[in-house]
Symmetry: C3
Subunit: 317 residues, 3 copies
């Protein structure tokens, strides 16, 4: 159902809503397209006129300066007109429904919506509603999915380790509340990664996570052994003050990635984090700023990935 929503009958990408069910050649096409936006010499992202005259709407029902900014920059690098809408102060508060808001923006000549919402399925709802020539990108919905984050994570891994089939990847931290974890697992499996592990305390692991094809660990010492890539998840502030966890210090001791724990992994291990980081809680500064960290590369590649998704969606018309 979701697959049908984001793919045409011919298998072309119509919307990007979730990694789940996305064919590997569609994923590869996005990665390869992103690659072409990166200048091979300077590694800077190029500016191109592909979306000139098109209006891209950042429709953010949940505040996120960072993600909104990356989409805004990606759209501007494609020469689109970008309209930012933070929907608290807007028509929503005036009692208009989500779909009425969308219909109105479509009538204002929106070509594409970048949607972030704290409820799972919001982007799907919009994609199901709009006319075929309108494109939707899910920029994070509830605990469900964050597909562009997963694609940029995949791009980053492949950039530094082109042979994906032999890699062991560990995702560490709050798996339970993380749409990033969910999307990453789908993306890694779709690309035939050798092994995907999740490492988390019992309280931060969803039941039945093994069904997604991951190995579960509760102990960093075991889980990190010989992995080629570590993806550290952000520990949301609201969790820290909750009852699920003992204390930030305790969490750091058990699950915070330190240089010492890093030595358990493969000597060339890559360290990744979707940001923003809580230094001293889920990651130590020595690791975040150390030679294994590719965290800032993720950010740059995130621009290229978003440009790739936008340009592919607009081309498919």
């Amino acid at each position: 159902m979701q697959t049908n929503l984001q793919l045409t009958k011919e298998g072309r990408l119509r919307h990007l809503l979730t990694i789940e069910g996305l064919p590997s050649d569609t994923i590869l096409n996005i990665l390869d397209t992103a690659n072409r936006f990166i200048d091979p010499k300077t590694h800077e992202i190029q500016k191109v006129p592909l979306l000139s005259g098109k209006a891209v709407f950042n429709l953010f029902f949940e505040n996120s300066t960072r993600t909104r900014t990356t989409f805004e920059i990606a759209a501007k690098r494609l020469s689109a007109d970008v309209i930012n809408l933070n929907i608290n102060t807007s028509s929503q508060s005036k009692g208009e429904t989500l779909l009425d808001t969308v219909d109105n923006l479509v009538s204002m000549q929106a070509a594409m919506f970048i949607v972030r919402h704290n409820e799972s399925g919001a982007a799907h709802l919009i994609a199901r509603h709009v006319a075929p020539h309108i494109k939707v990108i899910n920029a994070g919905d509830g605990r469900h999915a964050h597909p562009t984050q997963a694609l940029l994570d995949l791009f980053t891994i492949r950039y530094f380790r082109p042979d994906l089939s032999r890699l062991r990847v560990a995702i560490v931290g709050d798996i339970l509340h993380s749409r990033v974890a969910r999307s990453d697992i789908h993306a890694l499996n779709a690309m035939g990664i050798a092994e995907v592990r999740v490492i988390a305390p019992y309280t931060l692991l969803p039941k039945g996570i093994e069904l997604l094809g991951v190995k579960v660990f509760h102990d960093m010492a075991k889980g990190l052994r010989d992995v080629d890539v570590i993806i550290i998840l952000r520990l949301q502030n609201e969790r820290m003050s909750g009852s699920l966890l003992p204390s930030p210090q305790e969490y750091f001791k058990s699950y915070g990635l330190t240089s010492e724990k890093l030595r358990l992994a493969h000597p060339d291990v890559l360290v990744m984090h979707p940001g923003p980081m809580n230094r001293g809680i889920e990651i130590d500064s020595a690791v975040a700023d150390g030679p294994h960290s590719v965290i800032l590369s993720q950010v740059t590649f995130g621009i290229a990935i978003r440009m790739a998704v936008m340009s592919i969606l607009m081309k498919e018309d």
Copy 2:
């Protein structure tokens, strides 16, 4: 006085502040210009370089994502640089006067101000103050006027019913607090519409409204009979909780537009609404989404109308 403020001695448009007193050929010129921005085949709004290098300031003292966005899109379709200013958090709160703010923005090379303010006359005040080469568009001032809304309503009616002279138009709802109603009445009368009706409960009708040249009805069954166009006004949330009205349910029963009430009108009646809609209060979803509704066309034509007004004002220099 207001006429002089928005027209030059030669009768050209200098500012757009109110429909009241605007000559019909000026109105027709705006409608015809708007028409040229709409692609005849795709019905999409074209992007043109008419305001390239010009700075348009959205000066919003009252929050309105929808109206601000339509002006922002219209200005960007004309290739202007758009600066959005929501004046709560700005210099106004620092004790600067409205006209000092305006003077400063003019000195920053503003070419045009789009002004929304909760006090009637704010746009006039600014228009009276600025140098002749600076243009002002009233995007809604208090209960007074909302001229671009009236122009887009007129455009929409004419688009679907070109022979205006024979039409009967009913405006339904909160006439008392509505700048849209006031501007619509002036616009419809200026174009020689056969008959303009207002339908509202006693508590939502201003005294002496008949003097504007409208027929007054309190009963939908009588007021809707044989009309060609129905303009449903938004019932502001703050009214609903006030003492002017019994309850939203009661209001819907008496004045909400349902399919049943719609049958009283002409079989080809057009249903319009300035948005955002309160479904189930002033309009039933079956009507809002039904075959008579041209509500989303209003939104699209609103972009073209705003482009037309902006380009006419800038050309007249």
Copy 3:
């Protein structure tokens, strides 16, 4: 130290952080560059493609619509892509450090940061951290510096009084809390102004201000005598309600610039104010709007100065 941070070994401008220590030929180069952006006939600011394809980030940790807008307009007149970030609602509140935010934005292809922060030294901190090809402009940090304001003040004085060496300039008001005063004093001294005076009540004067090379006055009657330029400082609202001053009325009586006090100065005296003005407190409307006032010229020249600084920084790469 600061000098080294904002100048290369060859003496070229790398960042603009403070006027202190800036060589006079660097200042003159900025003024002359600004002059070229002003159309000699119309006095309008021209639009040029110098920063086309570059991303300029307005990184405002302290709210200032006016200053942010001037930088936004200046960047757009240079054809840059501008991204506005008001960092309250952003990652900062999620616990990310200032430098992590900056690193992320650099990874998003930021070419230049315009930084306003309520802590002195914030722009320096960022400049010290970023790679050499990233440029930083201080748009006001705590009580420390506001260099572009000082440059536009200097430009304005030179525009109307080209022979700087004979001028007497008085800065009036809240010297204690003013980064504008500090930057103005450095700029005026660097250009060899004949005499710089400060006029303020004891409570609004920092100790040892004489060491900056200014003459101190507490009495307007003495301080204004024969001056060629008067720079009136804004009295912050929070001071007025504090215990440092008797009352706004009392302040106006002693230090507010009235037509009467203005007669003590040179007959051709220029009156300046960084804005926003408190009319009737630090300046009388008759003076603010009178023939000696060049307050609005300051605003226009501020755009040209900011364009000049941005284009010089980007050229030096």
